[in-house]
Every structure is written in structure tokens, then in C-alpha cells.
Subunit: 323 residues, 2 copies
């Protein structure tokens, strides 16, 4: 057996762990509840035990694991391996997670934020395969991002690069949760897309979504794309606004780090071609005429396993012998 | 004598050449007219002869030159050392400038666009010294840019990264020369700043600039900052618009590659503190409240020699033995 890599996706609810071979093919995976209220010692102990059990179940020796990768939301000091604090795991304060897990498993530990890890997964074996310059967006409650430039993640001066949801595209525009106005996140995240529709209906816009809002008390971005499919005019307007905001952001990234490929991930890509094609349309309409741009805009392909694949891939890239 | 580096700033009117020691201290510099109409062979021959004469005048041997750097406007295939075409030098079409100069001087040649070269100069020995992540803007006729991430220039997938003047900050806004709408260049370059004032006066705005426009037929950004100093209200409005557009772009770069320092260069920085302080004010006003950002916004320090210093610095970085 050649060397193996472990990828860990540490969330507030579950810890997902995957065991991968040197080609990043999944050997075995599992998921356990985080139980963050038990504190960092217990949680990290459980991570180590789960890795060991996964190896026993696969009948493979710990000795063959070359490195372990972890992805988790920040804020953290990633290069030093310390979780500073965590919204979803309030007991985690200044936790040297890499050192603690290394003491239990005796393996090199690689650590990065969840968006960077998912970005790296897509880059290594998913939608970004084969390019050296990529930009990654996750469209969920908020908008997260990742940037790969010349084959490396861009971390920035204080490890907070690629907060792409907070690029301002409409100065003095909609208020964002971050305190700024006009962020792309305030227009095009799944939550903001739903919120814009809700506000329009509350302001009197006609829409088949109104009945749904009255009945359920809320609407989601999924509802909007469903009503768009059945011809609702407001749903189309709102979805167009989302696509245009994302297209402008793609253009801005093209003029910044010039990716060859821009990859969208997150819950909202379930909307499918109606979202992707509209982003492409607006991109083609708004982009400069100086030259034809070679950038490809596409959806992520790794789905829910992006976190564990990405963490294992980053471990291979950073600590693997063949890097 | 330790090793030396040559920096060449190839423009449509003049070729500036500087000879630098290994610490990038200027030993001697000169400038000759380009005479691009004589064709690439003659121009590149003249570049080589001028380098040789500079060495003779300084009583230093060609053997001690470790590498030569060249900066010039594109479009070019920089990594292959080929000028594809040039607005200012129409006789230059698909010219393998690196190979041609290497044949004459027998030295490694490093080649990049003028904005990247100036950016690298500021990074190596100017306003960007001491940081690893920097963003650079030139405020002239247009707005050029450069990005340094983790100590390296960001080139992008087709060597057109950092076209920062063409980030869209006002979708569907002012038309830019590039064909897009709402680019920061369409608001905040020296030319656009002057144009916005001209348009406002032509539309009937009251201003002490009106008399100047009537007399000279045009106004410049320099005029605007002069009239701002003497209390003109329109000049203040226009200058505020410029500063705000640049501040928004700084925020967007912070959320992209997260520079530690943002450096402004180009003719318009002659406006001084009134420009810089206003950019900082808008930045502080518009930036998120999540955390205090450590970015420093400042002006370039190398002035007109940035091109030759940057080219020599890039030669040292890329081909120098101590890199």
C-alpha cells in the first residue's frame, strides 16, 4: 500500500472524516457528531479515535498515513494551526488544534479555512482540475471564496484573503451583515436572493411567490428558482439580479488575479443551468471588448465531500513527498 | 566589484537605462530617444550599445552584469519574451525582444509589463519595502495595476492579471475606453477626473474652473486639485468622487488578495495629502466593521526612476544568484 491522506471537515454539528489513497481516491469515510460542548480536548480526542477506527475498519495501518488535513470556519491562525474562536463551537478559544491532533496521531497536520479547503479540493480533483489559476465562490447563507494563483492558494497578509462575498459592487447599496454596503453577498447569496424577493413582495410586487410567503412566512432561493421555472416575473427579476451581481464579480476577479476557471459551489447551484447560463450571459454582456477572454465559468463537481477531499488534497500538496 | 543589474524602461519616446549594484543602488543612468520608426533591430541594437557605453563610462566590465530587466507596455507574451504589438511602437510586431537582446549582450533577460515592473520596484526598494503582499495602482491617463502575493507578482492565466483600472465599481455606470461600464478608471484616472469636471461644467455646474475651461478649452486633474485648494465646491465634489472610487477599489482588493500595503503612483499623486487622506477617509467609512484592517495606504516613493529600478530589481529577483 502506498501512502494515504486523511481529510477532516470540522463543523459545528458533525465531523466528517475521509481516508484517501495517494491519487486522492476515497478509501472510506465516516461522520460523527461534533459535540462541541464537551470542549476541545474531547472533540480532538474523538477526531483521532475516529481516524484510527477508520483505518482499522479498512484494515490499513496508521503508519501508511502521510499527513492529515483539517478544514474549519475561522477565525483562526491557520499557518500556526490555532482556532482563535468559533461561532459554531463556542468552547473553542485559542485552541492549538494542529499540535493537539499531531500529539495524538503523530502525523503532520495541515489546516485551512473551510472555503479554501473546498476550493483546493475542486482545484485538485474537481471542477478546477487542469488549470493553475482559479477562483471559487460558495453560494450559501453568505458568499465565501477561494483564490488559486499560479498553483497556490492566496492567503493574504493576515490569512483573510478571498473574502469575495464582501467585494463592493454597488457602493451605498444594500446593507450587508459585515457592516459594509453594496457587497455582492448582500445581493447574490441564497439568503439575500430570498430576502430581495421577500422585500419586493412586501413592497407590493405581484408574484406567485406571495401566496407561499403568506403561507410559510418565508421564502427561500429554491422557491424563487422554482417559480422562475413556472414563469413568475418577479422570480425572474430577482434571479437576474443575482446572476448580474455574480457576473460583475467574475469580471472583477478576471481583472484581478485572472483565473482560467471560475467555479461556483454551495446550495444555490442546485438551481442549475438557469443560474449558470444567466451568469455567463451577463458576463459576456458586461465584459470589455478589448479581447476575447478565455475564462471558463462552471459549477463545482465534488458536492458534499468537497471538504474532506479538499483537506486530504491540501495535506498531500503541503506535506506529501511528491509535492 | 560584486554583480550588477541593468534596468531598461522601453517607452515609445525614450529608452531609459540604469545600471545598479547588487543592493539596487543606482550606479549610473541615461536616456536615449527610442526612434521606434527605425524598427526593432535598430532599437534593440541601440539598447545594447547604450548598456555597453554606460558600463564603459562607469569603468565597469560587462562581465559583472548578472542580468538585464526590461519593462514595456503590452500586449506581449512576457514569459516568452515577445512583444506582440505596441501602440507607441507600431514597427514592433511579434518581436522576440529577450532573445534579440540576449544575443547582443549575452546576459539573461527578464521581461514584464511597465505597471508590473514599477510595482516590483516599489516592492523591492520603495513604498512596498518590508511587506510580502502589496497592491499597486498607477493613476495616469488610465489606471494600471500590479499585485504582489506572498512575495511574487500575480501574472494570471494569460499574463493579463492586475488590470485593476477595469474593476467595475458602478455597474451600468460611466462608459470606459475598454468597452465596459462603471470601471474605476472611468471615474478616478487623471483623465476621467478632469472629464467628470468638464462634463459637470458643461451641464451648468458653477465653478471657478469654468473660466479656465473657457480660456484653455480643457482642464486637467491638476487644475481640479488647485481649485479645490482655493475652495471651489465643484472641484471638491469631483475630487471626492475620485477618492471614493479608489477607496472602494482598495476595499475590494483587501477582500481579494489582502495586501498589507496599497501603493498609489502616477502623475495624479502630485495632488498630495488632499488625495491620500480622502482615500483613507472613505476607506475607513466604507470598510466592514468585523475587524480592524491592518492595510496601509500610501504613495509611491521612486518617482520617474521606478521603471529602471523595477526592471533591475525584477532581474535580480528572477535571475540573480541570491534570489
Amino acid at each position: 500500500m502506498s501512502e494515504m491522506f486523511v481529510g477532516i471537515d470540522l463543523g459545528g454539528t458533525n465531523i466528517k472524516i475521509g481516508l484517501f489513497d495517494s491519487a486522492l481516491e476515497l478509501i472510506r469515510k465516516t461522520s460523527v457528531s461534533t459535540q462541541a460542548d464537551m470542549g476541545p480536548d474531547v472533540v480532538i480526542g474523538k477526531m483521532a479515535e475516529t481516524v484510527e477506527r477508520l483505518l482499522v475498519d479498512a484494515d490499513l495501518p496508521l503508519a501508511d498515513v502521510a499527513a492529515v488535513g483539517i478544514g474549519t470556519p475561522g477565525p483562526a491562525n491557520y499557518s500556526e494551526g490555532v482556532i482563535i474562536k468559533s461561532t459554531n463551537m463556542p468552547t473553542f478559544k485559542n485552541v492549538p488544534i494542529c499540535q493537539m491532533l499531531n500529539e495524538k496521531l503523530g502525523k503532520p497536520i495541515v489546516f485551512d479555512n473551510d472555503a479554501n479547503v473546498a476550493c483546493w479540493g475542486e482545484y485538485a480533483v474537481g471542477a478546477g482540475k487542469g488549470v493553475k489559476d482559479m477562483v471559487f465562490f460558495t453560494l450559501g447563507t453568505g458568499i465565501g471564496g477561494g483564490i488559486i494563483s499560479n498553483g497556490e492558494l492566496v492567503h493574504g497578509c493576515a490569512e483573510n484573503a478571498a473574502e469575495l462575498g464582501h467585494m463592493i459592487i454597488y457602493p451605498d447599496g444594500r446593507k450587508c451583515n459585515c457592516g459594509q454596503r453594496g457587497c455582492v453577498e448582500a445581493y447574490a447569496s441564497a439568503d439575500s436572493t430570498a430576502r430581495r424577493a421577500t422585500e419586493a413582495i412586501e413592497a407590493g410586487a405581484e408574484s406567485s411567490l406571495k401566496k407561499l410567503l403568506d403561507e410559510k412566512g418565508r421564502i427561500t432561493s429554491k422557491d424563487i428558482y422554482e417559480h422562475l421555472a413556472s414563469g413568475d416575473k418577479l422570480a425572474k427579476e430577482i434571479a437576474d439580479g443575482t446572476a448580474k451581481a455574480l457576473a460583475i464579480t467574475c469580471i472583477n476577479m478576471l481583472h484581478t488575479t485572472e483565473p482560467k476557471r471560475i467555479v461556483f459551489a454551495g446550495g444555490m447551484i442546485a438551481a442549475g443551468d438557469v443560474l449558470l447560463n444567466r451568469i455567463q450571459d451577463y458576463f459576456d454582456e458586461q465584459i470589455w471588448t478589448l479581447k476575447k477572454e478565455p475564462v471558463e465559468i462552471c459549477f463545482a463537481t465534488l458536492g458534499e465531500d468537497a471538504g474532506i477531499i479538499g483537506a486530504a488534497a491540501l495535506a498531500r500538496h503541503t506535506k506529501g513527498p511528491g509535492r
